[in-house]
Amino acid sequence: MQGSNRLEKALAEAGIEYRPTEFPNTGLHCSLSLGPDLVRPLATALRSNGFFIETVTAVDLLQENRFEGIYLFNHYDDPLRLLVRVPVERSRPVLPSIGGIFPGAVWHERETAEMFGITFQDCPDSRNLLLPEDADYHPLRKDFTGRS
Amino acid sequence: MTDRPVHHTGYHQLAAQPDPELVADGFVLSIFLLLGIIFALAPLVACRLLAPRSRNPQIGTIYECGMVAFGQATSARFGVFYYLYALIFIVFEVDVLYLFPIARIYRQGVGLAGFLEMLIFVCILFMAIVYAWKKGVWIWEREALSLR
């Protein structure tokens, strides 16, 4: 199918193997788990092949002591939904920013940064999006129990 | 005012009393002027006395949808084609200004020479109206005033 060929091509550009998933079960055409240094090359390859960013968020896995950065990509013409999970350690969560490649991801990264405390390197805009400017708490962490 | 011959007072008659008609007119005019000023100032005074007042540091700040405004107010610009309105105003204003004394003494007989002089004066000022006519200010177009 031409769609998966496009995805395969994009992934091959970034040097990643393509592993399809069952779309009716997962809602995704492909699900990957990468290291932080592969995020930017993958984003560049996807951008040049016509993909767009759906969302950038994170999941707090308290028991396993890590965050997982979540990137969802999609395509306008063909049904190609790609999920990328990037595990980072919980004590010092740092992820590379794709704000320079996908400008629409900047607001997602701002929200993820203020809600989880993840630092996005070289993000064009790293102010708080929803919380007040002087907020020093991260509400969506699993061990957050309120401001008091 | 009635037609009176102009009387020449010598220097020894400087201590003579002023013309009673002029004094009465001056009195009426000054009452009128005073009433005009009071008419303008009375609402301000009434407002000061009768209105409740807001007193806080932000009452006089620039409204910017609740945000703090920055930058100079001179960044607001308006089109230079409004100079045409200034032109029309000056023409009519100066016209009227110089026609007032002419109207004052007209009945005392200026003769044909005076009439022609006045006509030439008005015609010269009419040139400005012709200029504005050529610029098209008398035609109010449907769309926004285009820059010509």
Partner: protein
């Protein structure tokens, strides 16, 4: 005259103030300050079905300089709080505030232990004259809020006895 940062007038004329209050009550110009879902009900109250214009309150001003009453319609977050206070301060006296909806009264559904961003009630920021409960309140409730505010100004209520709604029994 509204409370907070407003000072009463220098000279009080009893009869004149009654006339002024009557005029003010019948021409309360609101400031459009819809923050969340209650804004939809506020717009609906300004619409043709639940007309606010028949009470003189249909002219929603976009600037606080021309507004009499500030309808806080929706959730006030900690990020929006300084803006709310600044707009209230920029309104000239006399001014009133209607807190519309549960969020503006007390934080509404967000009044929890782990609430981190919602101001629990706009009364913590600015003085409120009328509270309109509901999530969201019906447009008729906002109309009733205006009638209550008029009653607060003139001590004389328009439609004191609403007509009986015929019920099928």
């Amino acid at each position: 005259m509204g409370t907070g940062s407003t000072l009463p007038p220098v000279v009080h004329f009893g009869c004149l103030e009654q006339i002024f209050n009557l005029a003010r009550a019948n021409s309360l110009w609101p400031l459009t300050f819809g923050l969340a879902c209650c804004a939809i009900e506020m717009m609906s109250a300004a619409g043709p079905r639940f007309d606010l214009d028949r009470f003189g309150a249909g002219v929603f001003r976009a600037t606080p300089r021309q507004a009499d009453v500030m309808i806080v319609a929706g959730t006030v977050t900690a990020k929006m709080a300084p803006t709310v206070v600044r707009l209230y301060n920029q309104m000239p006296a006399p001014k009133w505030v209607i807190a519309m909806g549960n969020c503006a009264i007390s934080g509404g559904p967000f009044k929890l232990d782990f609430n981190y961003n919602v101001i629990e009630g706009v009364e913590r920021l600015i003085p409120v004259d009328v509270h309109v409960p509901g999530c969201p309140p019906r447009p008729e409730a906002l109309v009733e809020a205006f009638l209550k505010l008029e009653e607060k100004l003139t001590s004389d209520r328009r439609f004191p006895h609403p007509p009986e709604i015929p019920r099928r029994s």
